[in-house]
């Protein structure tokens, strides 16, 4: 919509604009759920499993029940409620068996957090240890223990997923395109490698927290630090068999989400405790340790890729096998698998391809959505693979990328044809390369090398991502005019810092032709008040809600014009408006102010017409289809955002230490509605990506105990980890159906950062690193030609989880 408007004709779109939420956040006025205290509120604490897998033989709550301040105690035995997003596989409190370290087995609500803690500690649990299955590759073995023996009994979303009862496989996604046998047959080179990455934590600065009150007549009120109010409500109602008009979910300011708060979390736990405590509100806030082990993380991945390339460097065939570690529950992991499956090749055209992507249960904290929805993990693999294939066949990696990049006319893995308006990945790659002076060292860089003795290397990494969402994903915006002619927009898409509300405000002001100050976006979301939105995920917010906002503004104007036409006794077509009034085009002095019609107009004699002006905009994704379960063919993507990073590193070849000297990120955003906001997303995501590239990851011992659930042992980047120079730029190829031509950019900035780093390190030193994070010792070991130490990966009791030795060296067969 309005995708081809000249910037000169745009007042707010594409320009700088203040963020309306900043003053509250900067003064400490912004209220987060963690700040909220309700009258009569109780505090919950949990008893958690110290084991990865065990039978719960007995839970003794007797001592705890007698402790001061205790108002309610619950164990899994008392609850028979399964919760789940795509596969309904999880109890609120473990029942019969614990499936991961840190899983909740009992809960206490008490007058104070300290009393609740003391009582939870006094609960005694008798376990019988069972052998856990810890690595996802082990979980595929025929003799592996089953994490969910009842998998066949769970309900699940049948249109999209294929759980395999009797195994640990929660889902398989398959893609079949072209004739892969023939493709390999015709290839001059075949290169096969395996790549992997561990589970990581989202680390929102505000941990998961909710307050729930189970009131009289089963009326439930929930306040939660979550991304998607309607999804919390829907899943909650489904789990408890309540009507949607009995449950109200409110979301105030949220201290970060990154996908970890996309679905339902600790809300049901608070609600059942509140019910047991006679309806008093109950608050539960995860400790930082619980954020790591009770709440979900990002899935680990092993990715095997076999690529056939022609003599000229064109990819002819690619076999892709993804093994995703879902942990104990399927949550979003099954959909991560699906979305990664259809995007598995990255932004390249592969004429003959197969993808087999598996979601695998293990006895570890469960995996969920995390910024990028699988794309950070598999782009690590695909973009390292592109580098290694190019190096192996003696082609420059940049050239190899450009030879195979998607262009207009290319077909994606699911058979979608790329159009000129889809976006321009070639331009992103070229621009990133140009800005880092790819393929050469500048004079300063040469001097620096000479001075330090460290080797400088440059690499690029490209990326693509489309929103992973149901084909019929919908949203709405309601725009209400106030008595003085200002407007307030209600929507249930949440803004936890991305800045979407700022951009939507600009879009609404633009379409209404009102000054920005007249437009307010209501900040807190509320399922009783706001119109439906599916979820705040997938970088789809600006696209869908932006279109809905345009339509709401148009609806409001149409209604205002109808009233004005009646008052002015004119045809609506002869009317025009500014920020204050609607007037006759041919006689501008004759008009009515918006204020005079905002809540209904009164003629001088007192007769009223009109009524409160409310505009409604509804938008649903168009033209998408389910993927065929056998071939994966179909249309899953409402838009593709492409991008590329260029990275410059200097590496000490003796010690393996390195510094990132320069990062350039380029995205084709269609239209940068607010350049500062795009830059904020670009740099913030790049740093988050760099964190997982350099240091983050879950470490377990051989029994499945998580060893680093804290910031001392699981570092995240600080200001000192910033690269010396950070640059970002945008390409703007308008998305025809995007609001003012825009497409989303939020997750994308995190994707391929690790791969670009790996590629630059390889350029500098030759180190072939295939596992992330890339720690200094990994570089050193790679340079010494030593095996990587895989303490990031659990070695399970029934065998190592490493990739098979034959997968490690690149196998090259030159048939030419």
């Amino acid at each position: 919509m309005f995708e081809n408007m000249d910037s000169a004709n745009l007042k707010f779109v594409g320009k700088e604009a203040d963020r309306p939420d900043l003053v509250e956040k900067l003064t400490g006025e912004a209220t987060f759920v963690s700040d909220m205290i309700l009258p009569g509120m109780l505090y919950a604490q949990l008893k958690k499993s110290p084991h990865a897998r065990a039978k719960i033989k007995k839970i003794d709550t007797g001592k705890a029940a007698k402790m001061p301040g205790v108002r309610a105690i619950l164990t899994g035995e008392e609850l028979d409620i399964h919760i789940g997003l795509y596969i309904v596989d999880k109890y609120i409190l473990a029942k019969g068996e614990v499936r991961h370290y840190g899983e909740a087995v009992a809960a206490v609500a008490a007058d104070s957090p300290e009393e609740a803690r003391a009582a939870a500690d006094a609960i005694e649990v008798d376990y019988e240890l069972l052998p856990p299955v810890l690595h996802h590759m082990d979980a595929l073995k025929p003799d592996a223990p089953l994490v969910h023996p009842e998998l066949g009994k769970y309900s699940y979303v049948k249109a999209a997923f294929s759980p395999q009862p009797g195994t640990n496989i929660a889902n398989i996604t398959k893609i079949r395109k072209g004739d892969i046998e023939k493709g390999f047959e015709e290839s001059a080179y075949i290169v096969e490698r395996e790549y992997s990455c561990p589970s990581v934590q989202h680390v929102p600065m505000e941990t998961h927290v909710a307050i729930a009150q189970w009131g009289f007549g089963d009326k439930v009120n929930i306040w939660t630090s979550a991304q998607s109010p309607f999804t919390v409500r829907n899943l909650f109602c489904m789990a408890f068999g309540l009507s949607h008009n009995q449950v109200r979910v409110q979301i105030p300011y949220v201290g970060g989400g990154f996908g970890g708060k996309a679905g339902i979390g600790v809300e049901p736990l608070c609600a059942v405790l509140s019910k047991k405590a006679g309806g008093r509100p109950v608050k539960f806030q995860a400790s930082r340790e619980e954020e790591f082990s009770l709440l979900p993380c990002r899935c680990a991945l092993n990715y095997r890729i076999k690529t056939g390339v022609s003599e000229e460097g064109k990819i002819l065939a690619q076999k892709m096998e993804m093994f995703w570690d879902s942990g104990a529950y399927a949550d979003y992991a099954v959909n991560v698998t699906r979305a990664s499956g259809y995007s598995a090749s990255g932004p390249y055209e592969i004429p003959n391809a197969t993808v087999d992507a598996y979601t695998i249960y293990t006895n570890k904290p469960y995996g969920t959505a995390y910024r990028g929805f699988g794309h950070v993990e598999f782009h690590w693999a695909i973009e390292r693979h592109m580098e290694l294939v190019a190096t192996a066949i003696g082609l420059d990696p940049l050239l190899f990328r450009l030879k195979n990049a998607l262009r207009p006319g290319s077909k994606t893995l699911t058979g979608e044809t790329i159009l000129p308006s889809t976006g321009n990945v070639v331009k992103c790659i070229e621009e990133a390369a140009r800005r880092i002076h790819y393929g050469e060292l500048t004079k300063e860089e040469k001097e620096r090398e000479a001075r330090t003795g460290w080797k400088i290397g440059k690499g690029v990494g490209a990326l693509q991502k489309a929103p992973a969402m149901p084909s019929f994903t919908a949203t709405a915006v309601v725009l209400k005019m106030n008595e003085n002619g200002t407007v307030i927009a209600n929507l249930a898409l949440t803004d936890y810092g991305q800045g979407t509300y700022t951009s939507l405000r600009q879009i609404i002001a633009e379409r209404l032709g009102f000054p920005l100050e007249k437009v307010k976006i209501a900040f807190e979301s509320d399922t009783d008040r706001d119109p439906y939105d599916w979820q705040t995920v997938a970088s789809k917010g600006l696209f869908l809600s932006g279109n809905a906002a345009i339509l709401a503004a148009e609806d409001l104007l149409e209604k205002a014009y109808a009233v004005a036409a009646e008052i002015l006794r004119a045809n609506p077509r002869d009317l025009a408006h500014d920020g204050d009034r609607i007037y006759l085009k041919h006689k501008p002095e004759e008009g009515v102010s918006f204020a005079s019609i905002a809540i209904g107009y009164a003629f001088p004699n007192g007769n009223g017409i009109g009524g409160p002006l409310i505009g409604v905009g509804r938008y649903i994704a168009q033209g998408l289809s389910n993927l065929d379960k056998e071939s994966g063919q179909g249309h899953p993507a409402v838009d593709w955002t492409y991008g590329a990073h260029g990275m410059v590193v200097e590496v000490n070849e003796e010690s393996g230490e390195y510094h990132v000297l320069h990062v350039v990120s380029v995205y084709d955003v269609g239209k940068a509605i607010n350049p500062d906001m795009v830059r904020g997303q670009a740099i913030g995501g790049m740093m988050q990506g760099l964190g997982t590239a350099i240091c983050e990851g879950y470490i377990y011992d051989k029994d499945g105990h998580l060893l680093n659930p804290n910031f001392t042992d699981n570092k995240i980047p600080t200001a000192k980890d910033l690269p010396m120079k950070v640059e970002c730029a945008v390409v703007e190829t308008p998305q025809i159906d995007g609001p003012y031509g825009a497409r989303g950019v939020a997750e994308h900035s995190m994707i391929s950062v690790a791969a670009a780093l790996g590629n630059a390190v390889q350029k500098a030193t030759g180190a072939e690193i295939t596992h992330m994070p890339i720690r200094f010792e990994d570089v050193w070991r790679a340079l010494q030609d030593k095996e990587p130490i895989d303490n990031w990966i659990t070695k399970s009791p029934i065998g190592s989880c490493r990739s098979a030795p034959e997968m490690r060296p690149g196998i090259i067969r030159n048939k030419g």
């Binding site: 900067l26 003064t27 400490g28 970060g256 940068a672 740099i683 740093m687 950070v726 945008v730």
Partner: protein
């Protein structure tokens, strides 16, 4: 124990158990919830306040240790209807996303600038190293401080 202190220029006096942290005391007993808890272990800096002129992690200080102290929190940063210069610079540079690290971040910058009105980039990074921000990637925060102290231009987004 009885704790008497000054917060943002106001006198407070309360009974307080000995084990209570200053963070919880400020948030729960004094009702100043602008200061946040991100870890409760002295690792993230979300709880940073200024105590007797020094930025401290208030989760690592017992309230009783703060008896007699002079404390500043985010709630005291703006004066009347106008934001402080630090707040204005953060606003201009979009140095805030979710806002959860922001109160602590502002306090660390405040301490830095009171000691060193013209910090180098390295000194700014050093000063906020203990304040985790998961959203912004720090760049716009550093630019805000540089703008405030050296008139550095606002960072831009190139269109190609």
């Amino acid at each position: 124990m009885r704790v008497k202190l000054v917060v943002n220029g106001q006198n407070y006096e309360r009974d307080c158990p000995e084990h209570k942290t200053l963070l919880k005391f400020i948030r729960e007993d004094l009702g100043l919830a602008g200061t946040k808890e991100g870890c409760g272990m002295g690792e993230c800096g979300a709880c940073t306040i200024i105590m007797n002129g020094r930025a401290v992690n208030s989760c690592m200080v017992l309230a009783v240790e703060a008896d007699g102290a002079n404390i500043q929190t985010i709630e005291g940063e703006a004066s009347g209807a106008s934001l402080s210069d630090i707040q204005k610079a953060f606003e201009k540079h979009h140095a805030v996303q979710c806002g959860f690290c922001t109160p602590g971040m502002v306090m660390s910058v405040k301490e830095l600038l009171s000691d060193n009105p013209k910090p180098s980039e390295a000194q700014i990074k050093e000063a906020i190293e203990g304040n985790f921000c998961r959203c912004t990637g720090y760049t716009q925060i550093i630019e805000a401080v540089q703008d405030l102290t050296g008139g550095k231009e606002k960072g831009g987004l190139d269109r190609v």
